[in-house]
């Protein structure tokens, strides 16, 4: 059972890593508009500034 002394702290570190990944995804705007992204493929491409993430 000694391995627990390594694995439990490791899992804590892992959670912090996941929290960091979540931070990146929230602040890069991935959750800002979850409905629209699915419809983007239907949009015309003639106004690129309006359809690409800045």
């Amino acid at each position: 059972m000694d391995i627990l002394y390594l694995l439990v702290p490791l899992s804590v570190v892992l959670v912090f890593l996941i929290v960091g990944v979540l931070a990146w995804s929230v602040w890069s705007g991935q959750f800002d508009d979850v409905e629209h992204q699915g419809q983007r493929i239907l949009e015309d491409d003639d106004r690129p500034s309006n359809t690409t993430p800045r």
């Binding site: 059972m1 627990l4 439990v8 959670v15 931070a23 602040w27 800002d32 359809t51 800045r54």
Partner: protein, 838 residues
Amino acid sequence: MVIVGRFLSVEQALSNKSPGMPHRLDLYQVGRPAYRAPGKSAPYDRRSITIPPVRPRSMAQHAAFMHLDDPAELAEIARELPERSGAGRRLETVLTVDGVHCAACVVAIEGALRGRVEDVTVNAATRRARIVFRPDTQPLSGLFERIEQLGYRPRPVSRGAIATAEAAGRRTSLWRMLVAVLCMMQVMMYAVPRYVADPGDMSEDVVRLLMWAEWMLTLPVLLFASWPFFASAWRDLRARRIGMDVPVTLGIVVTFVASSAAAASGGEVYFDSVVMFVAFLLIGRWLEASAREKALVGVGDLLARLPETVERLDADGRGTTVTLRQLQAGDRVRVSVGQSVPADGIVETGRSHTDESLLTGESRPIAKQPGDPLAAGSLNLDGPLVLRLTRSPRESRLQEIADLIESASARKPRLAQIADRWAGPFLVAVLVLAGLSWIAWQWIDPSRAIWVAASVLIVTCPCALSLATPTALIAAAGNLARGGLLARSPQAIESLARCDAFVFDKTGTLTLDRLSLSAVRILPPTPRSPGSTVPRAAGSADVPQTPAPAWDAATALAAAAALEAGSLHPIAAALRRAAASGAPLPEVSEVREHGGAGIAARLRIDGAWRDARLGSARFTGGPEGGAAAVFLAIDGHVVAGFELAETLRPDAAASLDALRRDGVSVEILSGDEPGRVAQVAALLGVPDFRAQASPEDKLALLEARQREGRRVAMVGDGINDAPVLARADVSIAFATGAALAQHHADMLLLGGRLDTVVQARRLSRRTMRIVVQNLSFAAVYNVVAIPLALAGLMPPWLAGLGMSASSLVVVLNALRLARPSPPAGIVSATATRVAGAA
């Protein structure tokens, strides 16, 4: 701490920019309303999109709001109200106050501003404050400063600012929620073995290890995710009052500190309860915030329908791309298919259909041809149009609607005011109760005293109680607005639900304010001598006395419409409409309009020019006293008479029927002559009507009904009937034509459909039912939960679950009102006409 650092940097990015600099946020530029980056979306002045910097209180602070006193800035964010008693200008503005969570905040802000301003209402559900102030004696910057001193962050609500700040706020709250939920899951993983293991299964060291792992993961939840609760509780304490977040914060901190002590010394730990409580509370708040956003037809939403750039045409028809803000009345603009109309105007060339559902709730496409008005925000569906603007984008109907919704969402319903008054004492009672329970349990079981006190603190949070009313009314108001009915204040919905008598005005309410042609009568040739003038058409002098062609209804109507082609008179419009689908119009020349009598012109019929007159019996020599209102005379012979009628609204009969079926008494009250009112009443099957009523009569009748104990809704014309409307319990007006602000009614009908009123009444009754459900649920929950917690039967985790669940239930219940209501079962009949009017 990585997370905290990240969070702070965003906050700083939001607050430390200098005015005039748009904040850069990594937002998607995807054509969805609230998420646009300011630089792109700003249809208005750049200044409007800066967020006032927030600095610690210092000398520089006053300067932070100084720019708000600039007249140009004021015009952007405030609305002029009609002057009263000559005490100077009055302005109304709406601001977002960050940090408002509960009733206590509301009381604090309102209390601080009252006395300085004419009127102030703060709505905790929308975080909006509505202020009526006199800029000459009390500058806006001073008011903002006062709010900031209380520890809140005021922001003027001007177009782009809302989108930017709300997008950032939304991300932060989503982020906090995700951190809390993720940590909650992992803390549970560590906690479960401790709960299920038999004594001796796990060594003491492993138990310790798991406890400290829990402690590690509780830290980010405590330090980052629950920050909003701490901040708001601190604000409350500094202002020496008790807000909703004070017991919540105490509960979190007490549980955490006691658990940490227990982890160090051995004993029961409740880290899992802390993270779960915070996570559920944040989920609840996040849901409520997104619900509020969806339910409230946000100003951002409305105005984001406007295009960012438009193609303006110069005199030669060449197009240049300009921003919306550069447009002025009189400009010509091309609106391509799929684009929305940038400002109110009139179609110059092109034919198309437009979707005006955003403005009027009318879902059918509306045909547009040259000469037809176009409203900003409507969508051009199937043909390019060239538009001549009649108003600049800033003055458009859409802007008016947005302003109205904005100011309505800041007003507070009566029920919520009552709840606010009770919240303060209730919270004090909670704290006292928690303290008493801790003392009492010292005798019963000292080891559990701290947990009982924490449970009491957590379980009694009156979140559900304070959310019960505002959320429901906002959801309902949003729903009504989508159907084309604007409520000026949430209070109107409450009043409408109670109404049991409807009084309708006739003209413009039950009838359309336009005439329609009801019959064309061909008159037999009179034995009078031919007309005094001799036709002198070019090249046809040799056929002066050809016999008049045989007239039938279609040709007579075509001739009349041709004569009236240039006239603005309502009769002319009716004739033109009637002739639009009939025979081709003959040529006319030498048109002379005789004011009040009719039109004389020369008309080309079968290749010959003839003298034609169209007008009253006296002007044309037609028979007097008949039903016909205007006559057509050719060469002095009266050939046809036209009967005109008022048009009933297509859905008037069905709507009134539906109201009566719903158990509401219906009456007609009109200033018109008895004959016509009786006719309309008979057609609609309304036995109670009063004609030739002066405004005083109308008032007296309303008051008589109210003395009978009825609550009266008055549906009428918001401009001429203003005093009568003001007396009614709730007033509804058709907002056609004039500026919305000029209509004095509690509710404004934008779509011109009477059945909206029926649906609104049903929805408002449903709203009140849901409010009552919510209030009683919240009350029952507290009555049941508090004794359980006091008796020690509720561990902290159950208290957290119960409290968060109760506010979720209330919010979700209220959200049922945001769903589109089922059709009222009113079919729109074809237009019914009342004969005899002229």
